[in-house]
């Protein structure tokens, strides 16, 4: 029972204003479409070409390699801040981390991921 009332209210809440708006448009507001009004909104500039542009799948590789080194920078900043007070173990740990990433880059480079193939 409760759920039925809930659904009824949930439907009436959006539908009544929509119906009122529709009635209002029907009886009072004359429609005034036009070439500018119906055109794509691009900050007031006339849009050139289609808005649905596809990105090349190749771009994904660039993005993911960028992301790896982006995250690396996040780890490097606290490391650099705490550098003077760091034990030798911490230093070696970050070096291994860097080497792993570097190895990844070398691998990707060797695979030819950094070569743009259209």
């Amino acid at each position: 029972m409760f759920i039925v009332i809930f659904i009824g209210v949930a439907l009436a809440f959006p539908l009544i204003p929509l119906a009122l708006a529709w009635l209002w448009r029907r009886f009072f507001q004359p429609p005034k479409p036009g070439p500018d009004k119906t055109s794509t909104y691009e900050c007031g500039v006339e849009s050139i070409g289609d808005a649905h542009v596809q990105f090349h799948a190749q771009y994904y590789l660039y993005a993911i390699i960028f992301l790896i080194f982006d995250v690396e920078a996040v780890f490097l900043v606290p490391f650099a801040v705490a550098f003077t007070g760091l034990p030798v173990g911490g230093f070696i740990a970050i070096l291994i981390f860097l080497l792993l990433l570097l190895e990844g880059l070398v691998w990707a480079w060797g695979k030819g991921c950094l070569q743009w193939q259209p």
Partner: protein, 207 residues
């Protein structure tokens, strides 16, 4: 709508706790208290506009704090600042893309007339050359209080707009255009330099 109730009778009824309203009043009351401005600023006046929207002056008191990033959702265009000739076609196009009913506040000397740059080669001498302006605010730049005053004036205008009859609001008339021609870059100036349907400069009479 239609028949207007006698003002004295209505005040008398209100004193007794009976509120009489009309569709027109309800509609205008809703409209005037939820004016959503289009979010863009052109020059220094925009800083004053931002101050108006921020907590000290708080345009939210008048229901105008919802600055929309899309003209489709906006009711009000605040032309805040110098309109260069490079920018004018974009302003007119944005105005065209706004849904009816739409209003324009020309804020500051530049938006009204070109202001201190009136003699310059690159500044439009008033946005009212291309689009109809509802409220003009003088000042360079106008203080936030002035913008609030203009906002209240606009609310007063919306409140007085009629929905039916021969003197109904402009946006309800089918023959009234919702779009205005976008000027093009000519060799020396924007073409046309003004829209004669919109621009009615005051004629100076010298005796």
């Amino acid at each position: 709508m239609g028949e207007q109730i006698d003002e004295k009778l209505r005040i008398e009824l209100q004193r007794q706790g009976v509120w009489v309203s009309s569709m027109q009043e309800l509609y205008n009351w809703g409209r005037k208290n939820s004016i959503w401005p289009l979010q863009f600023g052109l020059a220094c006046c925009a800083i004053e506009m931002i101050a108006t929207a921020a907590s000290r002056y708080d345009i939210a008191r008048f229901g105008g704090e919802v600055f929309r990033p899309s003209p489709r959702q906006a009711d009000l265009m605040i032309v805040a600042g110098t309109v260069t000739k490079k920018m004018a076609p974009q302003i007119v196009r944005l105005y065209n893309q706004m849904a009816d009913p739409k209003y324009v506040i020309a804020m500051g000397a530049c938006a009204i007339s070109g202001g201190p740059f009136k003699q310059g080669y690159n500044v439009l001498k008033g946005i009212d050359r291309y689009i109809p302006v509802d409220v003009y605010i003088p000042g360079c730049p106008p203080r936030p209080e002035a913008l609030l005053h203009a906002f209240m004036e606009l609310q007063r205008k919306i409140d007085s707009q009629k929905l039916t009859g021969a003197d109904k609001a402009e946006f309800l008339k089918p023959e009234q255009p919702s779009e205005f021609p976008v000027p093009k870059f000519g060799q020396h100036d924007l073409e046309p330099p003004a829209n004669p349907d919109v621009f009615h400069p005051a004629i100076i009479e010298r005796s």
